[in-house]
């Protein structure tokens, strides 16, 4: 099949799945089957598109044309393909996990949950394959709206407050800053197409372009750059599958993906290197990396600690994009996949611990390694991948990012990256270690192995082995990411 045919179907499949979930809501088994097969079908379609990548040729599929000369359009491009592959691969895995989690945790409103989940993935596909900034913006907003009911799923006062922060920060920044930046770009250059080498050039005025870049980066609230990060820890009130796929992979990666797209295809790396604003923002990202790690160390709630770790890791990618260096962009792009796999493993484990042992705090985990050895082993693998130690996939992306900072001769940022890895080691790897080596605190409930439901374990096994696999077979990913800067 050609890309013209595949792209609309990739976009439509999740939405059709959402409708199917809505109609089969009365029969939970059928509903989960619809959800799972939609997820699998989407992944198959994205893989088909990826395999056709070598066929080459730029194809653009126009969906609608709300403004003359500025359509809503999809096209295939390496960075988007990489992002879509990661998100669509992890969706079926998460769907399997969600079945085990949602049922054994006794969550309500599951039909609404699965439908909103599918719509969120549809919006993610729209972001990944957007052919221009307008399309990306439209799906970016749709993703915010579609994930809102997931964040507020519990319906409690806490969920409501988190939802308010979520919507307020994400939609507020995107309307106030990102939309302004998009319209401004359109007014300056007369196009919003993602063009290799960028569509802006330095005769448009350095100061104006600097302001524009700041608007773009701050407007992309989903990238959780400090001080616009508060929504992410708040969103952890959502059920774990949401935190795992959406708030470790789809939503937050959509944010950093937007920043990568803007730097590579709107500004162009050459222009980014010239802008002083890019350097300041890179230091802001560096500050976020360290500060978020420090905050993570103080968090005892496991999901909150993971959320701050995500904030820190997202800024790695933002930093890579803002260096204006090829290695930084490639490293950042690869980090989308590497961090995605690592962090989703950690969240799956956190959910499994919640379901099987009803524990949410790090301090309660002492000795849990004896009850849940598989889960804790997977946690260790995921944590090592995020730290960037071999033999885990995270090694390569961190390597490239460090190389990027060396190429750019920003020694401070190099130091930041290395220091942050040490911090990661302290607050992430320490968790499985204390679970294995410390004696259990309570005496009563430590008898025998009691793991999470099989569906959850299966998903954990897939993502954890993915972390290892990507160390040995990182080449296809690298070549895809390299295509971004060519």
């Amino acid at each position: 099949m050609t890309a013209e045919l595949l792209l609309p179907w990739i976009l439509a499949t999740p939405f059709l799945g959402a409708v199917g979930v809505g109609y089969t809501g009365r029969w939970p088994n059928l509903r989960e089957a619809v959800s799972l097969s939609t997820a699998a079908a989407l992944f198959a379609l994205v893989v088909l598109l990826a395999l056709g990548a070598s066929a080459g040729g730029q194809t653009t599929v126009v969906l609608a044309e709300p403004f003359p000369g500025l359509p809503l359009a999809l096209s295939r491009e390496p960075l988007g393909l990489l992002f879509a592959l990661v998100a669509s691969f992890l969706w079926p895995v998460t769907a399997v996990y969600a079945i085990g989690y949602m049922r054994s945790h006794g969550e309500g409103h599951q039909t609404r949950f699965y439908a909103a989940f599918a719509v969120s993935l549809g919006a993610t596909m729209g972001i990944a394959f957007a052919a221009n900034m307008l399309t990306l913006f439209v799906f970016y907003e749709l993703l915010t709206v579609a994930t809102y009911p997931l964040v507020t799923h519990a319906g409690t006062e806490e969920a409501r407050r988190a939802g308010r922060l979520y919507l307020g920060m994400l939609m507020g920044t995107s309307i106030a800053f990102l939309l302004l930046a998009v319209v401004w770009t359109w007014q300056l250059s007369g196009t919003l197409d993602f063009t290799p080498g960028g569509i802006l050039n330095s005769d448009m005025g350095g100061a104006a372009l600097g302001v524009l870049l700041v608007l773009y980066v701050l407007g992309t609230g989903k990238a959780a750059l400090m001080p616009l990060h508060r929504w992410l820890p708040a969103a952890m009130v959502a059920p774990t599958p949401v935190s795992a796929l959406l708030h470790a992979v789809a939503v937050v990666k959509a944010g950093v993906f937007t920043i990568l797209k803007v730097t590579v295809y709107i500004f162009g790396l050459d222009l980014i290197r010239e802008l002083a604003a890019a350097e300041w923002l890179a230091y802001l990202a560096g500050a976020t990396i360290i500060l978020a790690s420090l905050v993570a160390m103080t968090r005892d709630n496991l999901k909150a600690r993971l959320a701050y770790s995500t904030i820190s890791q997202l800024s790695y990618i933002v930093l890579g994009a803002l260096l204006g260096i090829g290695a930084g962009v490639v490293g950042g792009s690869m980090h989308i996949a590497m961090h995605g796999l690592g962090k989703i493993t950690l969240f799956f484990c956190a959910g499994a611990i919640l379901v099987a042992a009803q524990k949410t705090r790090v301090s309660e985990l002492d000795g849990l390694g004896r009850r849940m050895p598989l889960t804790m082993l997977a946690f260790l693998i995921g944590a090592l991948s995020i730290v960037g130690l071999p033999p885990m996939g995270g090694t390569w992306s961190k390597w490239l990012l460090v190389q990027g900072t060396l190429d750019a001769q920003t020694w401070v940022l190099t130091a930041v990256l290395l220091a942050s890895s040490l911090l990661n080691l302290m607050y992430l790897v320490a968790i499985p270690l204390r679970a294995f080596f410390r004696p259990p605190a309570g005496l009563s409930d430590s008898k025998g192995i009691r793991e999470a439901p099989l569906a959850c374990l299966l998903a954990i096994a897939v993502t954890a082995s993915g972390c290892v696999l990507l160390f040995f077979c990182a080449d296809p990913l690298f070549r895809l990411a390299e295509g971004v800067i060519r």
Binding site: L72, R160, G163, V183
Partner: protein, 494 residues
């Protein structure tokens, strides 16, 4: 003359004749049928007219066979046809919706009069759109205003009466100012025909009389427009009027006033005089921004949702006036485009509120508790309408916002663009207060028996919601005609 030649007069004539018929029919339900029939007939005529104008240029119609400039001329250009379409289609949808809502809110012996007054408002608005005569415009403005005072006073709440009286006083002052303005122009030129005025006025631009006339007209229309700070009549009037009236007036009344403003500023006085010799641009820029921000902020603190949307209307008028103040092709296009899109979003929102009133009986924020579950379709419509109001893609509101921000950036006024977007963020706050109440608050004990609104209410609501989404993606009709209408109006001027 064939039937087609009489097309310009039909959108005015049909409702004008159907109004007394409604009174004669006495029974509410028969009057409703007559009103609905008349409204859809006007809509058909308006659509045919727009199609004709769009294809073959402006149409002129000499009323009673008296040729302009002596007789009254009806002149339908693209902008007039476009406004006519907005008015007629909203009227047709609201009237189709009205039967159950009116039967509940209006005593049945007054229902026939209600429909008669409704049709008179429609006739008045259509008349304002098609007329090419300055004095005739005043007459139609008074027809529509007097009829709308009656409509508002029919609200169930006793405060409707005082709201209507307040509107009557303010509206009459506005009408008087317009009359004085038209009188001054007539004094200096001896003509009332707008085309004729446009040709003769430049010779006497320097006189104080013409400048005073300009000022009187601007202030008078500003009152009708609910331009900040002349908006004080609007929140109460919309809050206490019957649901259908709030929906119809909020979607059309201010639009027609904006249209009248455009007519006078751009056609009669011309861009050069209005924006360069007279300080209309600065005036509208400041007042538009002030209205946009202050009314949005006030809307955040309203507990009556109808009143909240009324303040939002004042804010939206600010957006339109801001577009006009830019005096550029894109700016005017954004204003004209927003006429249409705002009618769609406010129509949908107020009709959804009407459905809530129909089932719950009140529209305080606390009354929305639990409605997300009990009235899913109504509340889903409210959410989409609300998102359109905020300007979230892919809704019609986003297209409006895009053009307005683009127009301000073209001028290089990026602080203004920032303020426009800030207004959107505030809109998100007040819309979301309602959404949170509907989906998260614990329902009161007595709403367990509450059911979804009947289909006769839901269908018109969802037609408007669908239009909000459709015109967010396909803008040939809205932005396309707006752009063409503006370029014919300003005739190649910047």
């Amino acid at each position: 003359m064939g039937f087609v030649d009489h097309l310009p007069v039909l959108p005015v004539l049909v409702p004008l004749l159907a109004a007394p018929l409604c009174v004669l029919l006495e029974s509410g339900s028969r009057a409703w049928w007559a009103a609905v029939f008349a409204a859809w007939l006007s809509l058909a005529a308006a659509s045919a007219l727009l199609w004709q104008v769009s294809n073959s240029g402006a149409v002129s119609y000499a009323l009673g066979g008296w040729a302009a400039p002596w007789g009254i001329e009806y002149r339908v250009d693209l902008l007039a046809g476009y406004v006519l379409l907005i008015v007629a289609s909203i009227a047709a949808l609201v009237l189709s919706y009205a039967r159950l809502s009116v039967a509940q809110e209006i005593p049945c012996e007054r229902a026939a009069q209600f429909y008669a007054a409704f049709l008179l408002v429609l006739a008045g608005f259509s008349g304002i759109a098609v007329t090419g005569d300055a004095f005739n415009l005043f007459v139609f403005l008074e027809i529509s205003s007097l009829a709308s005072y009656t409509l508002i006073s029919m609200g169930k709440d006793r405060r409707a009466l005082s709201a209507s009286f307040q509107y009557l006083i303010m509206g009459s002052i506005g009408a008087t100012f317009i009359l004085i303005g038209v009188g001054f122009l007539y004094m200096m030129t001896g003509t009332l025909n707008m085309q004729d005025l446009a040709a003769r006025l430049p010779a006497v631009f320097e006189t104080r009389t013409v400048r005073a006339g300009f000022a009187f007209l601007t202030v008078g229309i500003g009152l009708k427009l609910a331009l900040f700070p002349l908006h004080l009549w609007l929140p109460n009037a919309y809050a206490y009027a019957p649901s259908t009236v709030s929906a119809f007036l909020s979607a059309t009344a201010t639009k027609v006033a904006v249209y009248a403003l455009l007519r006078f500023l751009i056609v009669v006085f011309g861009v050069e005089f209005s924006f360069e010799e007279m300080p209309a641009d600065v005036l509208f820029l400041v007042l538009g921004l002030a209205g946009m921000l202050s009314a949005s902020l006030v809307a955040v603190f309203q507990d009556n949702v109808k009143r909240m949307l009324a303040y939002s209307s004042v804010a939206q008028v600010g957006y339109m006036v801001l577009g006009i103040s830019l005096a550029s092709a894109t700016g005017l296009t954004s204003a004209v485009l927003h006429l249409f899109n705002h009618a769609l979003m406010k129509g949908a929102l107020f009709l959804a509120l009407g459905a809530v009133v129909y089932r719950v009986g009140a529209v305080q924020i606390r009354d929305f508790a639990g409605l997300g579950r009990r009235m899913p379709w109504t509340m889903a419509a409210f959410v989409i309408g609300g998102l359109s109001l905020v300007g979230v893609p892919p809704t019609a509101g986003f297209v409006s916002k895009w053009y307005l921000v683009l127009a301000t950036l073209e001028k290089g006024w990026w602080p203004v663009a920032g303020l426009v977007l800030l207004g959107s963020v505030i809109a998100l706050v007040y819309v979301w207060r309602v959404v949170e109440a509907a989906y998260f608050a614990q329902p009161r004990a007595d709403v367990t028996a509450l059911r979804e609104a009947p289909p006769s209410l839901l269908v018109p609501i969802w037609i408007l919601v669908g239009a909000n989404l459709y015109f967010g993606l396909r803008t040939d009709l809205t932005a396309g005609i707006a752009r063409r209408a503006v370029s014919t109006l300003i005739g190649g001027a910047p």
